[in-house]
Each structure stands twice: as structure tokens, then as C-alpha cells.
């Protein structure tokens, strides 16, 4: 579903991504982890073309992201994305947040879009908040709305960019629960996260990045039990204490 081949990116002389190669198959849940500044977020933003890259190739569902002829908007409408800071549209009610792209991008009718939005809000447990505004919800609620908003576009896969990093600890689980459910239903997912519990529960594979390189790309069992690189071992030793 997603193939990356030798993707490289640099700002001036600073190498952000170096020869990143991996694949994500349909139904797989890939967790991307690594120390901060290792290029995880940049990597998944390259998947839907939010970040340009200088060399290599990314193909999503048969469409090359780096090709200047690609209609990026169309591609992005099929790839859901959830951000660290939620990024709901603050001037719209929750139900409008879910409906706007359905109507303006997919051409669904207003009623259809609202209906679909309500169903998804129900699913993330927030049907009662449909008429509120993002600023009136807690962080965890906002992030669940953001997931519902992405799902409303019927994406073929979902990208998560540190979806729980900006949340209060007590709200992390409500978001992870939604993500876990999604993973178990067979959604193809690529998640940048430090939640190793989530990775252990649902990941098909774990990618570990350091200094712009993919250092490990292995099944979660192999990664957690005997990470090959020293860097990954150090990283695990530090974060698995908690």
C-alpha cells in the first residue's frame, strides 16, 4: 500500500532523511519510534506530500507522491492524517469540522456528510459534543474528533503524527483505545508514537529511526526482545522503565 524507496531529504547540508526504505502492506500497523529529531515526523509527512523530499520514491496505492504530475490533493483526500496538536478548525462546530472536507472535497451532500459525521462521532464516543466548538473540548476529546474527521473521508490508510504527545497523561488512553480499535478492524496505519504499550498491543512492525535513518524495521517481537542496534537498545532501556 505504501512503498518507500531510498527517500532522502535535507535542509541545506543538514540531512533529515537518509535512504529510508520500507513498505507498509494493507492492514498493517507500523509504529515509528526513535529519539526526537530522528526524522520520524518528517518521514510520515512525506507519505502524503506535506513535506517534499529530494530523492527517492514514495508510492501510495500505486501513485507516486514525488511526481510533479501527481494530483496531491486527490491523493491526500484518501490518506487520513492525525496531528500532534489536533488541528481541528476552531471556527467550526465539531459536526462542521467533520463535514466540511466531505462536502467540499468528496462532493457529498450536506446531509450525507452530517450523517456520516454523527456515526463517526458515535464511534469515538462524542456524539453528544457535535454542536460544540473545538475550544470547548478537552485535548483527548479533540484528538478523538480529529481521528473521526480523518475517518470521515473513508481513507485507505491513516497516518498518526505523535497523536498523544500533547495530551495530559490521563487522556492518553482514550485516544489509544480508539486507535487500537481501528487497528483491530484492519485499518492500515502508520503511527509515530512513543507509546510502546500501544506498539506491543497492535503493531505489526516497529520502525526505529535515528539521525534520519531507518535503523530497525522488524516485527514487534523481534524489536522488543532483541533489538539489533545499540542505539535502539539504549532507547528502549530508557523508555521502557516507565
Amino acid at each position: 500500500m505504501i512503498t518507500m524507496n531510498k527517500v532522502s531529504k535535507h535542509y541545506g547540508s543538514f540531512q533529515v532523511l537518509a535512504d529510508c526504505t520500507t513498505q507498509v502492506h494493507k492492514g498493517e500497523v507500523i509504529v515509528v519510534c526513535g529519539p526526537s529529531g530522528s526524522g520520524k515526523s518528517t518521514l510520515i509527512k512525506c507519505v502524503n506530500g506535506l513535506e517534499p523530499f529530494q530523492s527517492g520514491e514514495i508510492v501510495v496505492n500505486g501513485v507516486s507522491v514525488g511526481d510533479p504530475k501527481t494530483n496531491l490533493s486527490k491523493l491526500r483526500s484518501t490518506v487520513g492524517m492525525v496531528f500532534q496538536n489536533f488541528e481541528l478548525f476552531p471556527h467550526m462546530s465539531i459536526s462542521d469540522n467533520l463535514a466540511i472536507a466531505q462536502t467540499k472535497v468528496l462532493g457529498r451532500s450536506h446531509d450525507q456528510a452530517r450523517e456520516k459525521g454523527f456515526k463517526l462521532l458515535d464511534r469515538v464516543g462524542l456524539r453528544g459534543q457535535a454542536d460544540k466548538y473545538p475550544g470547548q473540548l478537552s485535548g483527548g476529546q479533540q484528538q478523538r474528533v480529529a481521528i473521526a474527521r480523518a475517518l470521515a473521508m473513508d481513507p485507505i490508510c491513516m497516518l498518526f503524527d505523535e497523536p498523544t504527545s500533547a495530551l495530559d497523561p490521563e487522556m492518553v488512553n482514550e485516544v489509544l483505545d480508539v486507535m487500537t480499535e481501528l487497528a483491530q478492524e484492519g485499518m492500515t496505519m502508520m503511527c509515530v508514537t512513543h507509546e510502546m504499550g500501544f506498539a506491543k498491543r497492535v503493531a505489526s512492525r516497529v520502525i526505529f529511526m535515528d539521525q534520519g535513518r531507518i535503523v530497525e524495521d522488524d516485527s514487534k517481537e523481534a524489536f522488543f526482545e532483541h533489538a539489533r542496534s545499540e542505539r535502539a537498545q539504549q532507547f528502549l532501556a530508557k523508555i521502557l522503565h516507565h
Binding site: 509527512k45 502524503n48 506535506l50 496531491l72 490533493s73 486527490k74 491526500r76 483526500s77 484518501t78 490518506v79 492524517m81 496531528f83 500532534q84 496538536n85 488541528e87 481541528l88 478548525f89 476552531p90 471556527h91 466540511i100 472536507a101 467540499k104 472535497v105 468528496l106 460544540k132 466548538y133 473545538p134 475550544g135 470547548q136 473540548l137 474527521r149 480523518a150 473521508m153
Partner: protein, 245 residues
């Protein structure tokens, strides 16, 4: 100080006999309001476009917008007014220049003043629009794009609605400025409020009454604008955000 106060002067017929002095003042008041409002509408529209262009990734477009802002912001308003009124008609193609010169002189003054105030103010509005857009969280644009919106759609549905709300307070002061700046147009002979005030002094030798009246009229306009803009500000307030409930 030996000054003869005479508030009755406003009710007197003017020396030319066509109106009372109050009527003259009212004429100037209407001129100021008509000039400022028409210029403001043009300035808002142009400023919004130029401000947006300053933030787009295309270098040519943003370069053009930057040049536009710098030109109209950095030349004194009075000089711009003279350029529009005295120089521009000579630079136009001859037929157009002549057509301009043959219109009603009041119309000539009004048009030159309107274009001048509109463009001068549009550069300032553009800067407000740009700063509004730039003060949005950077993730908003990505969020819009990631939903499948094109860049223009992202501006239209995601960035501009919030940016406009953020800049209502600074826009209020630009709106107030345009009324005050319109007084400059008396220098090319446009009989707006300030010019009528001076004319009254010339005809009646009652400067205090005249300028107190002019001052109060400007004050009245600006109080109305302030309340109007405050109403707008409250209406567009976003719940749970920026002082909204």
C-alpha cells in the same frame, strides 16, 4: 479673551445664499463619509488579496505583493494624492486623460481621492491580513491540505476565517484612520468635512464654533465605527477561543 461666541452662525444663510452654514457642514460630512466608506471597501478587497498573496509559496506572486505594499506604504499620503490628482491624468492615454479632465471637477477630486485613500489603506490592510495569516498555528495549513483541500480551498475554509477574526481589532484602527486621513483630500479642493470647516472660518470669522463642530463630527463618525466594529468582533467570536465563551 474677547471672543464673540455665536452658535447661531450655523443657522445663518451662507454668503452665497444657497444654504445655511450648517448645510455646508452637512455637505462636508456626507462627502467625508462617502469618500471614506467607498475607499474602505476597495481597500478591504484589495488588501485581502495582496495580504494573501504575500503568504503564498509562489515567489513571483509574493514578490509582487511585497513590492505593492512597500510602494503604497512608504510614500507619504499627501504626495500620493498629488500624484493621483495632478500627475496621473497626464500619464493616462490621451483620450482617457481628457475624459477624466472633462468630468465634473468635484467628480475628478472625488475619484482621485478615493483611489489614493483606497490604495494607501489597502497596503496597510494587506499587512494586517498577512500578520493574521502568519499568526495562525502552522499546523492548520497542513491540516487543511491533509484533508485533501487545494491550497486556495485551505485559505478559503481554514486559514482566512480564523485570520480575519484575529485581525478585527487592528482593522478597526485602519478603519478609523481612513476617516481621519480623508481630511488630506481638502488639499486638492475636495469639499469634505475639514475643508468645509475652514471655509466656514473664512466666511464667518467664527473659528471656534466651526472647528468644534468639525471635531464633534469626526468624533461622531469614529464612535459609530468603534461600536460597529465591536459588534462585529463579538459576532465573529469563536466559542472556547480568544475570549469567546
Amino acid at each position: 479673551m474677547g471672543y464673540n461666541w455665536n452658535w447661531g452662525v450655523f443657522a445663518e444663510m451662507t454668503a452665497t445664499g444657497d444654504d445655511t452654514y450648517l448645510g455646508w457642514m452637512f455637505y462636508g460630512f456626507k462627502m467625508t463619509v462617502a469618500l471614506s466608506l467607498s475607499s474602505w471597501l476597495i481597500a478591504l478587497a484589495l488588501g485581502a488579496v495582496v495580504g494573501v498573496l504575500r503568504t503564498v509559496p509562489n515567489r513571483w506572486l509574493s514578490g509582487f505583493a511585497t513590492a505593492y505594499v512597500e510602494v503604497f506604504r512608504n510614500i507619504p499620503l499627501l504626495v500620493q494624492l498629488f500624484l493621483w490628482y495632478f500627475v496621473m491624468p497626464e500619464l493616462l492615454p490621451e483620450s482617457l486623460g481628457n475624459a477624466f479632465k472633462q468630468t465634473n471637477p468635484i467628480m475628478q477630486q472625488f475619484l482621485a481621492s478615493m483611489v489614493c485613500l483606497a490604495l494607501f489603506t489597502s497596503a496597510r490592510v494587506a499587512e494586517q491580513v498577512r500578520s493574521g495569516i502568519n499568526s495562525l498555528p502552522p499546523g492548520q495549513k497542513n491540516a487543511g491540505l491533509a484533508m485533501g483541500f487545494t491550497l486556495p480551498q485551505t485559505y478559503r475554509y481554514v486559514m482566512l476565517p480564523m485570520a480575519v477574526r484575529l485581525i478585527v481589532p487592528p482593522l478597526t484602527s485602519e478603519f478609523l484612520n481612513i476617516f481621519k486621513n480623508s481630511a488630506v483630500c481638502s488639499t486638492i479642493g475636495l469639499l469634505e468635512l475639514a475643508a468645509q470647516g475652514r471655509q466656514l472660518v473664512d466666511y464667518t470669522a467664527q473659528p471656534y464654533e466651526s472647528f468644534i463642530a468639525v471635531t464633534l463630527a469626526y468624533l461622531l463618525i469614529n464612535v459609530v465605527v468603534m461600536f460597529g466594529m465591536r459588534w462585529v468582533e463579538e459576532r465573529v467570536r469563536v466559542p472556547g477561543y480568544l475570549g469567546g465563551k
